[in-house]
Amino acid sequence: MAVKVKVTSVLQKVTGAKVVEGDGGTVGELLANLDTSYPGFKQQIMQDGHLHRFVNIYLNDEDIRYLDQLNTHVKDGDTISILPALAGG
């Protein structure tokens, strides 16, 4: 199952691209798959199996915290966005 994942500039250092594709039935599986393709991927956004609290993951336009968190189901055609907080002004 191919799901599009949009990442911001900080993660692009790991992926080399702004949009990557991964496989998995849930967000958690998808992230694990991406970590295989792009070593170090999970380390940027997770710690001890939990998402960093300055990183949000959106399934389409909804924060997965308000869905089923890492167990949120994904399907073909969905877009996942991974967004860290930015501090610049």
Partner: protein, 426 residues
């Protein structure tokens, strides 16, 4: 000299129907007069020098003009629904204060002339309105009507909306990349009072993006440079400079006097501090942040979610680089800051759909705008159902020192502020 009263809603400029004369219908004896329209008001009456109107007295004629050209009365009447002293109304060349004010009776064929003074005259005396001192703006001067004419001719703004803008106060955190376009557009819009919080001085590396500052300003305190630029754009704006780092000790005092807060801070500690202070003071916060080619913008309204709902805690030091470390496209600041300025103007005017509940994501490289939904988190430690953060905290400790400092001076000022706080605690 009392010119008499009509009851006009100060915010909408609408005349109370009870005091509005009935529209003239054919056959009645309502006198028909010619009204001379001064140049600055002509754009509101189809660019005519004279307009025909009917009314038993001057107030009736003004009400008729307001029916024909909605918003006209608000140009003439002050906020207390009297004719302010800088506008003179003449009936056949006699000023009405020498007659019966707006109750001066009219006859067929009379000429009424509305003549505003060409400069000055706005009654901007501040008065105390609860915790927030609000300036009261009377009728706009001729110069102001001209200056803001592109606002005033829009139905969503009009004279009353422009007056709301001029009665508002906005605090801008940071006179840097975001603070610059925010301050410039708010100055041009005629915001009554703009506060600038920035303790830094202008560095030549700021000039790639910070349009408040120019070559000659290098070395000058940013708040002072900002004030000079704002007043060069619009001398009507009152600028208050806060040349200190915003800290847990001064945040309430700095923020309390303003209606709205716009965040253009360059570090996480200030972002959490400003968020928390706005929550406790119930101030709307227009938030924006930038890095490289990306920006994020949203609006937090009191009691309806906050920055901590979106990002419960800051990244550990080094996880998210600052603009100083990673860079930022200068023009990106303009895009994001201008959205922030737009959002505060919409809140002031009460028009449109605010970004509240939505996080706007801008990617300049792909030239894409996207939105994601954000909401109040019931588990939020600040604004959730069972809050544990009940006052301002030590934000430097909270952010683990990850401030994305732009220079040594900032670090020194923060260290000094921290030392002063620690001393105060002893």
């Amino acid at each position: 000299m009392d010119h008499g009263h009509l009851h006009i809603d100060r915010t909408t400029g609408v005349i109370d129907p009870a005091t509005r004369r009935a529209p003239h219908t054919g056959g009645s004896a309502m006198p028909a007069v010619s009204v001379y329209i001064p140049t600055p008001f002509r754009k509101f009456v189809g660019n005519r020098q004279h307009v025909a109107a009917q009314g038993a007295d001057v107030a009736g004629v003004l009400a008729d003009l307001d029916r024909q050209f909605p918003g006209f009365a608000a140009l003439v009447y002050g906020s207390d629904a009297t004719v302010p002293r800088h506008i003179n109304i003449y009936v056949n060349k006699t000023e009405i204060s020498a007659l019966d004010g707006v109750a001066t009776k009219l006859s067929d064929g009379d000429e009424v002339a509305v003549i505003p003074a060409m400069a000055g005259g706005a009654d901007a005396s501040a008065s105390s309105d609860g915790a927030t001192p609000r300036r009261k703006i009377g009728a706009l001067t001729a110069e102001q009507v001209n200056r803001y004419s592109r606002h005033i001719i829009m139905p969503q703004v009009g004279p009353s909306g422009q007056r709301k803008i001029m009665e508002s106060s906005v605090l801008i955190i940071g006179a840097g990349g975001l603070g610059s376009p925010i301050a410039v557009y708010l100055a041009l819009a005629g915001i009554g009072k703009i506060g600038i919080v920035d303790f830094d001085t202008v560095d030549i590396s700021n000039l790639q993006r910070q349009i408040l500052h120019q070559n000659d300003d290098v070395g000058k305190p940013k708040a002072i440079s900002a004030k000079e630029t704002i007043n060069a754009y619009n001398p009507d704006v009152e600028v208050v400079t806060h040349q200190v780092p915003i800290t847990s000790d001064n945040a309430f005092e700095i923020i309390a006097p303003y209606d709205y807060v716009i965040n253009g801070a360059d570090n996480f500690a200030a972002r959490y501090l400003v968020n928390d202070a706005c929550h406790f003071l119930k101030k709307p916060l227009i938030d924006g942040s930038i890095l490289l080619f990306e920006g994020q913008v949203t609006v937090y309204l009191p009691g309806q979610g906050c920055y901590r709902c979106l990002y419960p805690s800051p990244p550990p030091p080094g996880m998210v680089p600052s603009c100083a470390e990673a860079g930022v496209l200068g023009a990106l600041c303009g895009t994001v800051g201008t959205i922030q300025a737009t959002e505060v103007l919409k809140l002031i005017l009460g028009v449109g759909d605010s970004l509240h509940g939505r996080l706007m994501l801008y990617d300049a490289l792909s030239m894409e705008f996207r939105q994601v939904r954000i909401r109040r988190d019931p588990h939020c430690v600040l604004c959730g159902d069972e809050p544990t953060v009940t006052g301002l905290i030590d934000y430097e400790a909270f952010c683990g020192g990850a401030f994305g400092h732009t220079n040594e001076e900032e670090q020194k000022a923060m260290d000094a502020a921290k030392a002063a706080r620690e001393q105060a605690r002893v």
